[in-house]
């Protein structure tokens, strides 16, 4: 999974044609760390179909807020640079995978 931050977010996510999945997380967020392996798994499984990124909100707070993310864990789907779906707090990887299949 590609790590994105305030320097490359524009280029890697907003300028990207196709589906981008961004996993917003932080060092302090235990639930985020707990789901990370499952997100990595999805990233491998759908490698050719969607681009997977992770964004550490520590140090990128303004960027997260600009994306209207104010809570963790949050997973946002972008299509051609537009936010098309998101999951926050209580969600399952199953829901995330279903949404992904629907979008690709």
């Amino acid at each position: 999974m590609l790590a994105v931050d305030k320097e490359n977010f524009e280029a890697e996510v907003l300028q990207h044609q196709g589906i981008v999945v961004v996993d917003f997380w932080s060092q302090k967020c235990e639930p985020c760390k707990a789901i990370m392996p499952e997100v990595e798994e999805l990233a491998t499984k759908y490698e050719s179909k969607a681009k997977f990124c992770k964004l550490d909100t520590g140090g990128n707070r303004r960027l997260a807020i600009s994306q209207k993310v104010l809570g963790l864990p949050t997973i946002v789907f972008y299509k051609d640079g537009e936010k098309v779906a998101e999951f926050s707090k209580e969600f399952s990887m199953e829901e995330v995978e279903n949404k992904l299949q629907e979008l690709i």
């Binding site: 302090k28 909100t57 997260a64 104010l70 809570g71 963790l72 949050t74 998101e86 209580e90």
Partner: protein, 415 residues
């Protein structure tokens, strides 16, 4: 995967403590946790009242240590969400969302509680967009921003104080009259002297508003009925909790609010099933009491399992007549009964067996077979009680009984 001795549902402080005690007693122990271990305790950064940590410790830090402690003794912690339990068979069956079925001889229900939501307009829509139930998780988003906290209990006031380390202003919306909080005195004093905390008394939150993220809240003053709006970037709710007991269906008895009813040994209405921590009916819901419950339940479960095993091996699985005598080394009459029975059994020979059951160490067995006074003698054939006597036990009575039983068992084998 085999049968576990002890299966614990939930990896908060209650479940982890049960895991530590269970695994240390050499029970084959598994903890099923749907998220990451730690439970609610891992959602509070400042834990000041857990004994042994003057100056306080952190929730996530303490919980990480508890999880490691449980693993060190051999407890297995698995990421699984329990969706159903079935207690009808000899072993208890626990079904998870992934479709796996776990089997265990004893269960500890440690599923805790989750934050109560007020279900006010906008609350659900803005989860992760400014609405939060966890300061530790989300506080740093609000550096130099304004937040609102709803509630006035320990959690609300303590988390509000924590939030002042990040936010520039924390407004507390309190339902009570001016000066009245539901929290402990120390926290109240600290909050009152914190210049970043701003108080909105006699009021309730009516609505959370914004465009994509939280921008303002509507507040109603209960005295005047007046509605007002204040601008804010975040809303934290600490208005109590709701037990996570939905998956239990009707397998154990709950109170009207959904909390599991137990006795002081953490026994639920189902034999071999214990409940601990925030999920049960209790007076004080804290980390220290959750951990204490876990210890009690694991020890109770260990004794239950030992008794079960003894009973099964010595009494229920024996082919022939088993005479059980319920006695106590403190009771003269019962000692006499044991002596008398030992003689009788020697005379009667092979396929009759005497099992002594010390009532002070066999509460489950006493209860199951309704033994309320000693000495008591129960005769078992093929795992079933076929006769019983209590009070004075004489050799001739016992012989007569055995005679009758032998006829009965012989009769059985003929037909």
């Amino acid at each position: 995967m085999g049968i576990y001795d002890l299966l614990i549902i939930g990896g908060g402080p209650a479940g982890l403590a049960a895991g530590i005690y269970g695994a240390r007693a050499r029970l084959k122990t598994v903890i099923l946790e749907k998220g990451s271990p730690g439970g609610q305790a891992a959602t509070t950064e400042e834990l000041e009242n857990y004994p042994g940590f003057p100056g306080g410790t952190t929730g996530p830090g303490l919980m990480k240590a508890m999880a490691e402690h449980a693993r060190d003794f051999g407890a297995d912690i698995k990421k699984e969400e329990v969706v159903d339990i079935n207690l009808s068979g000899e072993t208890k069956v626990v079904v998870t969302k992934s479709g796996t079925e776990y089997r265990a001889r004893a269960l500890v229900l440690a599923s805790g509680a989750h934050p109560r939501s007020l279900n006010i307009k906008g609350e659900k829509d803005f989860i992760g967009k400014g609405v939060s139930y966890c300061a530790t998780c989300d506080a740093d988003f609000f550096e130099d921003l304004d937040v609102v906290v709803v509630g006035s209990g320990d959690a609300a006031v303590e988390e509000a104080i924590y939030l002042t380390k990040f936010a520039s202003k924390v407004s507390m919306i309190v339902i009570h009259d001016q000066g009245i909080l539901d929290c402990n005195k120390l926290s109240a004093e600290r909050a009152f002297s914190n210049p970043k905390i701003h108080w909105i008394w006699s009021s309730v939150l009516e609505e959370v508003k914004g465009d994509g993220i939280v921008e303002k809240v509507a507040i109603k003053n209960l005295k005047t009925g007046k509605l007002s709006e204040i601008e804010t970037n975040g809303v934290f709710f600490f208005v109590g909790t709701v037990p996570n007991t939905g998956f239990l269906q009707d397998e154990v008895v709950l109170d009207e609010k959904g909390y599991i009813i137990t006795n002081e040994r953490m026994e639920t209405s189902a034999p071999g099933v214990y409940a601990v921590g925030d999920a049960r009916v209790k007076y004080l819901r804290q980390v220290v009491t959750a951990a204490a419950d876990g210890a009690v339940a694991a020890v109770a479960a260990e004794r239950y399992l030992a008794e079960e095993e003894f009973l099964k091996k010595q009494v229920l699985d024996f082919a022939g007549v088993v005479i059980t005598v319920f006695w106590s080394p403190m009771n003269e009459d019962s000692i006499a009964a044991v002596a008398c029975l030992e003689k009788v059994v020697q005379e009667l020979g092979d396929n009759i067996k005497l099992v002594k059951i010390d009532v002070s160490r066999s509460e489950m067995t006493n209860k199951r077979y309704h033994v309320t006074s000693i000495p008591a003698v129960l005769f078992f054939v093929n795992g079933e009680v076929v006769a019983r006597s209590s009070g004075e036990i004489t050799a001739s009575d016992v012989k007569e009984q055995i005679e009758a039983l032998n006829k009965y068992t012989r009769g059985l084998s003929h037909c």
